[in-house]
């Protein structure tokens, strides 16, 4: 009888441990799901916010472009010939007549002479490293970037 009680007790303790383990595992899983959901919701909310901001910026850009177009048309109106003529007359200008113009002939002036442009000595640019878009190339690029880091730190 005593032995039977002990066995039953041992079995109950074992079940309790198992239940605790199952409970803990379930709790962990639940927490993981909650954390995952929170991360997902947070990321989705961030996406939505960024999308909205982007939408606002695009709308703002479009509005500014339209405003620029309007300003361009306004400038074109202000530069119309009748307005410019009227303004020039207000400022005291008048139309030139043929007798107001003196043409000066410059001896031996050849407008179509060959022009010699000054030579420009460009600095020798360091050629960019080739990147062959393979895994080895990518690893090489990372190594090169890593090797350049100490130099940059020294420069600072």
């Amino acid at each position: 009888m005593r032995q039977g009680v002990l066995i039953e007790h041992a079995l109950r303790r074992s079940w309790r441990r198992q239940r605790q383990a199952v409970l803990l595992a379930s709790l962990g899983l639940l927490l993981a799901v909650i954390v995952g959901a929170l991360v997902y919701l947070s990321q989705a909310a961030l996406d939505a916010t960024t999308g909205r901001q982007l939408e606002i910026l695009i709308a703002e850009r479009n509005e500014l472009e339209q405003l620029n177009e309007s300003l361009r048309s306004e400038i074109a109106s202000l530069r119309s010939v009748p307005r410019l003529r009227r303004r020039a007359e207000e400022m005291g200008f008048r139309q030139a007549n043929t007798e107001d113009i003196d043409y000066v002939v410059v001896d031996q002036y050849d407008p179509r002479r060959t022009a010699v442009a000054p030579q420009i000595y460009a600095q020798q640019a360091t050629p960019a490293a080739d990147y062959d878009e393979t895994l080895a190339g990518w690893i090489q690029q990372q190594l090169d970037a890593f090797n350049r880091q100490p130099d940059a730190a020294e420069g600072e």
Binding site: D47, E69, S73, S80, V81, P82, Y103, V105, Y109, R112
Partner: protein
Amino acid sequence: MRQNLPDDTLRQRLPIVIAGLLLVSVLLMLRLVSFQFQLDPAVTGYLESVRASGYQRTLRQAAVRGNIYDRDLQAMAVNSLEYRVGISPNLISQPRETAIRLAGIMGLDELDTFNRITSEVPWVLLSAGVSADQGRQVAELDLLGVTIEARPRRYYPQGSMAAQVVGFVGGDLQGYYGVEGFYDVQLAGREQEQMLSNIPFDVPEDHDEDRGSDIVLTIDREIQYLAESELESSVALTNAARGNILVMDPRSGEMLAMASWPTFDPNAWYEVRDDTLLQNAAINGLFEPGSLMQVLTLAVALERGAYRMEDTYLDRGYIEAGGVQVQNWDRKAHGVVDLTTVLVETLNVGAATISMQMGPAAFYSGLREFGIGEPTGIDLQGELPGILFVPGDEDYNDSLLLTNSFGQGVAVTPLQILTAFSAIANDGLMMQPHVFRRLLDGDEVRASSPSTLGRPISAATARQVTEMMVTATREGMGGRAGLPGYTVAGTAGTAQVPTTLGYEAGTSIVSFIGFLPADDPRVIVFIRLDHPNEYWGAAAAAPVFQRLAQRLVIMMNIPPDDVRRDLVAAGGAVEAIQH
């Protein structure tokens, strides 16, 4: 026992029902799973459209239309915005103040605005054509119940200037007439399709702006303004009904100005009642060229070898053929006359004698080579070919050989006759007239290159005809077309106005074509006035050319002949002082 019977039946039938339900569920699940795999494309398309209709919509947007510029990149047609301002009367708490403020900004009648604001309608339009500046001011008021809707609009900052060259854009955003019509495809660009999503997580698509190409014209707006001002004042001065002035560079065929009167404002094209005003009279306004045609007759005769410069004929004052008698304008006989005198005195009998001598085959083939009776092919919408009946045509008769030689019984457009004369100015080479100079498509620039329409006469013949035209200008028009310091080659035309019963008495269509400097032409000008109070072209049209040429030589930096020769002698070139 009786009570156990339903339990037994239930026990027996329940598995069948469960199995049936399970089977249906499995079938439904299999069907659902099957949607994830290949389906009939029609079904896939339908399902996608059902899905998209709930979450997405497609917005079709016209691309931003390209601008039009003159040769110096001054805007002739641009895009702008106008606003449509409306109001919801129920939402307005202070109608009186709102009416005063809105009417003040938009230039509306205060009482009318107040009446609209207090009307018993859910929404009322206050103004449809509010400018961008006014629209901004209304938006800044931030009034509840006021709606502002921006709408794209084509705007022509130069107003009516070159309206018939530029054309206009209609309410359907399509270009009509002129450059807007001819280059509509290039200016309009491609229609854009934008997918708009209702799902907030979808990042909106940002398209690079797709816009039509910009077009740079050969038109010089300052020369255009000069031509239009001169035409308007000449029409007023001579009491003419209509008129045209065309200015062209004969060496390239570039049109520098195409002025027509009357014209219209492309910003208000919808107010035009007479549709002919929308069309370019320079390319579809047919007229009988009158004495202008004598020059072409002489050129063809010299080119074909039917006559030489020193040849003469006996002018009896009339000539008969095909049942008609042709007389000189003064109804006099001029005796022995040389070819230059035919032009100086504009003798119809002389021109008719020459065409008779040549014969119809040589005469008409020569005119065809000058492009008479055929469209020039200018890059503007709505060009007409003119009318020239040749042997073999149903409407041809023998008398036309005589009358066509001095510009009767033949109809041309201003551009057609100008193009024909440009061949004389350009050593016999006839250039393709055009208004397109460059196309700007993003970073790409496509420039036009001059092309030829042919060589109707040789350089030697062109120089001979030019010489005769110089003499005609110097001696034939009483100095009305000359310009001190410059050699001008020109000729005037006077044509009767044809009606269905013959010709209208006492009125005419006068014209003048001239180019300068005669030995190295930089510019060729055509002038036409319909029904002026002066009957003769030399009296009505030649002075217009003179006034115009005085301004043109300054604007185009064309030095007087002596300066030009000194310049060339000194090893320079005229081009050195041109912009």
